[in-house]
Amino acid sequence: MGRTGCRMRGVAAGVLALAGWASPARASEHDAAPQERGAPIAQTQEQSESAMSTEPSYESYAGDDLGRPVRFQYPSQWTVQFDAGQIQAYRQLLILGPRNAEETFRAQLVVRSSPTKEAGGRFSGPGELIANLTGTVPEGASADEGSARDIADTPARDITLSYVIPPMHKTGLKSLPIPVRQRTVVLQRGSELVELVYSADAREYERHAGAFDRLLGTLQFP
């Protein structure tokens, strides 16, 4: 078998590697329009049905709770709560989603506005805000900072943190560790810092990630 076997193995492995590379790529294309093309492969069909059943409907928020007009879309089943600082200067909209399977943590979107340091706030810009955020996450956290990008036509910084909330021993809370993934996008508009946050149980993060994408993609400061 010597060289012939070696050649056979090499050729076959290469072909299999090509197949492995090509298959998911084609599946992704297929997922874009499962109904039009039909979905005869069971796994693909399940994924399509799952995607259809969990796709939320969205509604628009348009208001000036943050001290200036703002618009964005959020899942219509989620609830919006306004909150303003009593100690520190900020205004935020807490958009609360479903609780996780363990009933320990509610998925959440946040749209937060605070003044820059020059305008009486805490941080001079997105860099300082992110440094404070990453300096205070629990020990053992990990972080991924994405490339700078534009949100609502404004350059923004984008960081995702993964950490664990230790078991809380408080009345009404289950004392279980909660793995959390939190994505924060920060942008500055004049003397205002805008934080856009999505946090969820890390095990269920992808379930609602699209809602945050939708918020980012529809955010406007008219």
């Binding site: 093309r37 005869p40 943590f105 509610r106 440094a131 900072e145 230790p166 408080k170 992808e206």
Partner: protein, 368 residues
Amino acid sequence: MHAGHQSKARRARRRAQGVIEYLALLAALVVAAMAFLGPFGQSMGDVIGRSGESIEETSRVMEGTLLAALSGREQGVPPALGELPEPLPAEAEDDPIILSGGPWLPPNTGLPGGSGLGPAGEAGGDAFGSGPARAGAPSTAPPGAGFGGSGIAISPAPDAAPFPSFTFPPLPPAPEGFTFISRGTSIWTGWTDVDALNITGTQGVALLTSAFNLVASLSPFNAITADLIAKGISIAFGTAQDFSGPTANAIAYFRVQGTAAFPNTPVPAPFLLFNPAFLHDSVEAIAATLVHEGTHFQQYLDGQIFNPTQTVIDIEFRAWWNAAVFWHEVRAQASPLDTRLEQEAEFGYRTALQGEAALRALIASLYT
């Protein structure tokens, strides 16, 4: 003659090997074609008269056969170095979070696999320890490959700079305004002060006394202990039976028993009860809990907990905030932060350092 036979036999063997080689190559090409065209499923099935499922099944069987042949392990032949293809890069390895398929363990915590979770799901002691160095490992994700960042109407800035790794900065100093929230005017105008320290019970009295004295020694937190003394509020470790249902794993609770006599002395009076499961935690952590529950007592005094406009976020925020401000004062002497309550207090403290907004958002996710 003998040599001629041998030569013929060698040629025949080579021809046979050649046929086998081409058959194997053909099979591999068929597998690749099926995998490549699989998502087109039905049309492919129509062409070759098979359903998508059977295509997939066939592919699986063939892949298994070929992989078994490739490995050579079934024949006891170890694969020689360089004969096997390089393993394909595993995309999942870029992600430090295990989303499914086994118990979740925090990344980079040093928590040994499969251990550290007690019967009640409580964390192992060292999972959130407080070593001086940040344990976060640099990300191995490619630049711009943040989680969930695809498919949105955003565009990279022209000067987009990649962040191939991340270094955590040190814990920032407490900001301006990171101060104790004092209570308002008492609404219990007819409740006469008794001025008595009322730590009771048969267990943990020394621990409670030390914690109480620690709070009492620090201004402005001593406003809480002053109120507890003034009203003679009972503070004790309860029994395991006292902690069940919603309080099952709580370190302590402030229990309101009656308000019928308002604004005069409530009968029976409210009290603070601690969970005996934490009899061996640190004085500092018990003291931080006393500040948290004592703040709820102060909310009882100034009427915040009776105000229908106050949400659970409002009520809990004040208690978490005051405990965090207190923890800022004592965490150094509590170090290393290796008990359950110390880790909990440290987490609340760090979130409070992020800001009032972040702490209120956390409470919303935990309590609502």
